[in-house]
Symmetry: C2
Subunit: 462 residues, 2 copies
C-alpha cells in the first residue's frame, strides 16, 4: 500500500496525494457519514495528471473511483481500501464564458452553483438546477446525467453538454470539446461519458451550453385537493404559459406536513391539503409576465383546480417557499430513511403511490412514506422509514418499491443512477439483452474493469 | 446472387424481396438520380423480420444498407451490387399516440410529416421539422440525428427520442422502448443508434416525445443591411420573446436573389438587401402573442436593426414565405451544385463566408456560392457551383470549404452527417484519438463490418 502512495507522490507531488488516515477524516458521502476508505486520494490539477494516474493504475490493475461533490444517492462513489480515489476538487476552474455564443468551458470539479452564478453575472443562465447545487460538481452532474427541478422545461444535463474531455481507462485523453450547438461529424462520443457514472472514463473538462438569463421569474406555492387536479393544473399551465413553465414540484400532503412540522419550516399554506405544488415560470416580458402568470393562476382558482395559493412578494419569501420543497432535514430525523427515485407514467402515479403506501403501512405500521417529485417528468422521490432502526431493512423496502413498480413499466432510477445500491434491481428496468449490451460497452472501453468497478453493471468474473 | 435472392424470398416471402432489375427502377437518392444498386432490396414488416435478415447476412458476411426516405445529403445510403438493401417502407405504422404522457410510438419507416400531422390532430406537436418532411422517415431522422428549422428552440432529433428498438449486426433485437422523460437506469443505450448513420444497428421502432401544440404562430420575413444586425436581431428576439422564438433562418442576399429570380418565387421583399431572415415565434397566449410579436418587430425596425419586413396575413402567405427559404430548385438549375453543412461560432460566420466566397470567385470566376443557414445553431449551408460541368470538381470544392473552416475550429457536418462523402475530411473536425474511439465502438458492435460499411469511419483492413 505504501508502495502505491510513494509512487503516486513521485508522479503528482506530495500535496496531491492523501494517505488512508487523511482520507478517513472525510465522510464517505453526504448520505453516509462513515469514514471514507481508499488506498490513496489523489487531487489532480489537469487532464494530463488524470491521464498519468490512469496509466499508472491501468498498468497495475488498480481500481479507480472518481469523486465529485459526494451528493450521489446510490453509493455511486463508495470504494474499498484497495481503491485509488481521484477527487476533482482541485480541477475547479472556469476557463471561459463565451457571452456571444453562450457557452461555458469548465473543469469537471467546478461546483454547479459557481457556474450558475458566473453565468448570471454575464446575463446568462445555466438551466440545470438541483437541491445540492452548492456542493455537487459539474463532472458529477455530467457523469450521472443529473436532472433536478427544471427538467420539465429544459431537460436533463445531457441536453446542456456541448462537448467534453474524458480520460479512458488506459490513460488516453479523448478531447471532444465541441462548442457548436450542432455537430454531426461522426459518432457523438460524449454520450459515452454522460450518465455512465464514471465507469467508462473520467470526465475532466466540459463545454456547457448557456441561455440568455430570464428577464422575469414568477413563483407560487399552491394547494390542491386531488391528484387529478394536480395533473389538470400541470396540463393547464403547460398550455397557457407557452413553454415558460420552468418548475412544477409536487409534494404529497404527508411530505409537506413532515417538513412543516412544529420546529421546522413555517407552513406557507394550511397543512391539511392532500397535495402541494411549488411552481415557477421564467419569461422575458418584464411588463406582461407577472399579470399573465397571476391571471392564469386566478383562472385555475376560479375553475376549482387550485384550492389555495401563496405568491411570494420578495426574493426572501421565494427562497423560503423553495426551502419547504428542497430541505428535507426534518424527514431524516427518523433513522433509517431510504430514498427512492422512480419514474412512471403520470396517469399511473396515484395508483402507484396508493399501492406502495399500503405496502409500507402493512409491513411497518410505525413507519412512514413521504412522496414528492417532478411529476411533469414522470419522476417521484419516495422517503421510506420502517419505523424502527436497521439499515438491513433497506432491501425489504427496495423489494416493495420495485415490486409495486413492475406493473407500470416504470424505471427504478429516473435521475439518481444505479451506482452500487440499485445494481441488483437493474433487471426491473432493463432486459437481459440491454444489460449484455451495457457489458459489451464496459468491456470494450475498460477491459481491465478498473473504472468505478462494480457500479451500474457488474462485469467481474465470478 | 440468385442464391441470395431465393434464400431471402424463402425467409421473408416473395413480395418482400426485390431483385436488382426492380431495384434499378428506383433512383439512388433524392440527390442522385442514377439507378439504385443492390443485390436485393428487402421490405421487412417487423423488427423480427429485420432480425431474420441480419442473422442471415451476418452469418454470410453480406453487407447491409438501411434505406429511409433517401433524402440524405452525404451518400449515406449508397451501396454496391453485392449489398443487401433493407428498406423501411413497409414499417410505416404509428402504433400509439399517448395524449396524456405526450408520446408517439412508431415504426422507423413512418414519414416525418405523418407524425407531425397525427400529433397535430390530437392537439400535440412533434417539434423536429425540416424541409424534406414529406419524404424523410423518422428512422432516418434518428440515425442521422436530424436538425432542421427549429433546432434553435427545440434541439435536434436526439432530444426527442425517449426510447427505441434497434437490431444489432448479429440480429439481436435490443428493445429500449422507454417512454419516460427521465430514465437513468444504466447506460442510455439509445445514444448508440442516434446519429450513427446505421453503422451500429438498424433502428426499427421509436418512442418520440411530443409537446402541447402551440396556440399561436407568428411569422415574418425581414431584410437587413449587415451581418452584425442579423446577430443583434437574433439576440434581441431571443431575449425579448422569452424562449418562444422557434425559427430564425438566414439567407444571404445572393441566395435570396437566386430563389426569387424571374420565373421562380415572387420576392416578398426587395431583392437588393445583403441579408434576409425568415423568423417565427410559437406561443400559447392567443390574446397577447400577436401584438407582442409585432411590438418586438416594430422596436427592431425603430432601432434600425431591420430595414424592411413582411408579415403574412394568411396561412397561404406564410407558406409562400417559407417556400422562399425551403425550395432551392432554382439553384439546382446549375449543374453540378455541391452542398455543404458546416457549423462554426456565430462571431466567425461573416469572416468565413467572406473567405470561402473569395476562394470560389478566384477558383471559378463563372461559378457561384449561395449561403443560408440556421445561424442561431451556428450552422450554415453552402451551395457551390463551379461554373462548369464536372462532378470531379466536388473534391476541389471540398478542399476549399474545409480548409477555410480550419481556423475557426468548426465542424464539417452540423446536421447532415458524414456518410461516404465526407469521410476523408472527418479528421478536420475530429482528432485521431476520437476517430480511434469511434472505430473501437464500430468493431465492438459490428465486428464483421456488415452494417452500412465504409460510412462515417472506415474500419476495413487495407
Amino acid at each position: 500500500m505504501s508502495q502505491i502512495l510513494s509512487s503516486l507522490r513521485e508522479l503528482l507531488g506530495e500535496d496531491a496525494v492523501l494517505a488512508p488516515d487523511q482520507i478517513a477524516e472525510r465522510a464517505t458521502s453526504y448520505w453516509d457519514q462513515r469514514p471514507m476508505q481508499g488506498a490513496a486520494l489523489l487531487r489532480p490539477r489537469t487532464s494530463d495528471e488524470v491521464s498519468t494516474i490512469l496509466k499508472h493504475c491501468h498498468a497495475r490493475g488498480i481500481s479507480v473511483v472518481t469523486l465529485g461533490g459526494l451528493t450521489n444517492c446510490v453509493e455511486g462513489t463508495v470504494a474499498d481500501r484497495k481503491t485509488v480515489l481521484v477527487s476533482m476538487e482541485c480541477m475547479n476552474r472556469i476557463d471561459e464564458i463565451d457571452v456571444v455564443d453562450g457557452t461555458a468551458t469548465v473543469q469537471a470539479g467546478v461546483v454547479l452553483q459557481t457556474i450558475q452564478e458566473a453565468a448570471a453575472q454575464r446575463g446568462l443562465s445555466f438551466p440545470v438546477d438541483l437541491g445540492p447545487r452548492g456542493s455537487c460538481t459539474v463532472g458529477g452532474n455530467v457523469s450521472t446525467n443529473a436532472g433536478g427541478i427544471k427538467v420539465l422545461r429544459f431537460g436533463m444535463t445531457r441536453n446542456w453538454v456541448l462537448g467534453l474531455e474524458a480520460v479512458l481507462a488506459d490513460g488516453t485523453i479523448v478531447s471532444s470539446m465541441n462548442r457548436m450547438l450542432k455537430n454531426n461529424a461522426g459518432y457523438d462520443l460524449k454520450q459515452l461519458f454522460i450518465g455512465t457514472e464514471g465507469t467508462l472514463g473520467i470526465v475532466t473538462r466540459v463545454v456547457l451550453r448557456l441561455l440568455p438569463a430570464p428577464a422575469t421569474r414568477n413563483s407560487a406555492m399552491v394547494a390542491l385537493t386531488s391528484f387529478d387536479k394536480v395533473v389538470a393544473l400541470l396540463k393547464c399551465l403547460q398550455a397557457r404559459l407557452g413553454g415558460q413553465l420552468s418548475a412544477f414540484e409536487v409534494m404529497w400532503g404527508s411530505h409537506y406536513r413532515a417538513v412543516t412540522a412544529p420546529g421546522w419550516h413555517r407552513p406557507p399554506l394550511e397543512r391539511g391539503y392532500p397535495y402541494y405544488v411549488m411552481l415557477e415560470m421564467e419569461g422575458a416580458d418584464a411588463e406582461g409576465d407577472e399579470s399573465r402568470f397571476e391571471n392564469v393562476l386566478a383562472a385555475a382558482i376560479d375553475e376549482g383546480l387550485v384550492a389555495d395559493a401563496v405568491i411570494p412578494q420578495t426574493e426572501a419569501e421565494r427562497t423560503r417557499l423553495w426551502l419547504v420543497r428542497e430541505d428535507f432535514t426534518a424527514i431524516y430525523e427518523a433513522n433509517p430513511v431510504f430514498l427512492y427515485d422512480v419514474s412512471l407514467p403520470i396517469r399511473d402515479m396515484a395508483a402507484y403511490v396508493a399501492d406502495i403506501s399500503s405496502r409500507v403501512a402493512t409491513r411497518w405500521p410505525k413507519g412512514f412514506i413521504h412522496v414528492m417529485g417532478h411529476i411533469g417528468d414522470g419522476n417521484l422521490h419516495l422517503f421510506i422509514h420502517p419505523g424502527k432502526p436497521g439499515d438491513h431493512l433497506h432491501h425489504e423496502a427496495d423489494d416493495e418499491v420495485y415490486q409495486a413498480l413492475l406493473p407500470f413499466g416504470g424505471s427504478i432510477s429516473a435521475e439518481h443512477g444505479i451506482g452500487l445500491e440499485r445494481i441488483q434491481y437493474l433487471f426491473h428496468s432493463r432486459s437481459a439483452t440491454e444489460i449484455e449490451l451495457m457489458k459489451l460497452l464496459k468491456r470494450s472501453l475498460d477491459p481491465k474493469n478498473i473504472l468505478n468497478p462494480g457500479k451500474v453493471i457488474d462485469v467481474a468474473e465470478r
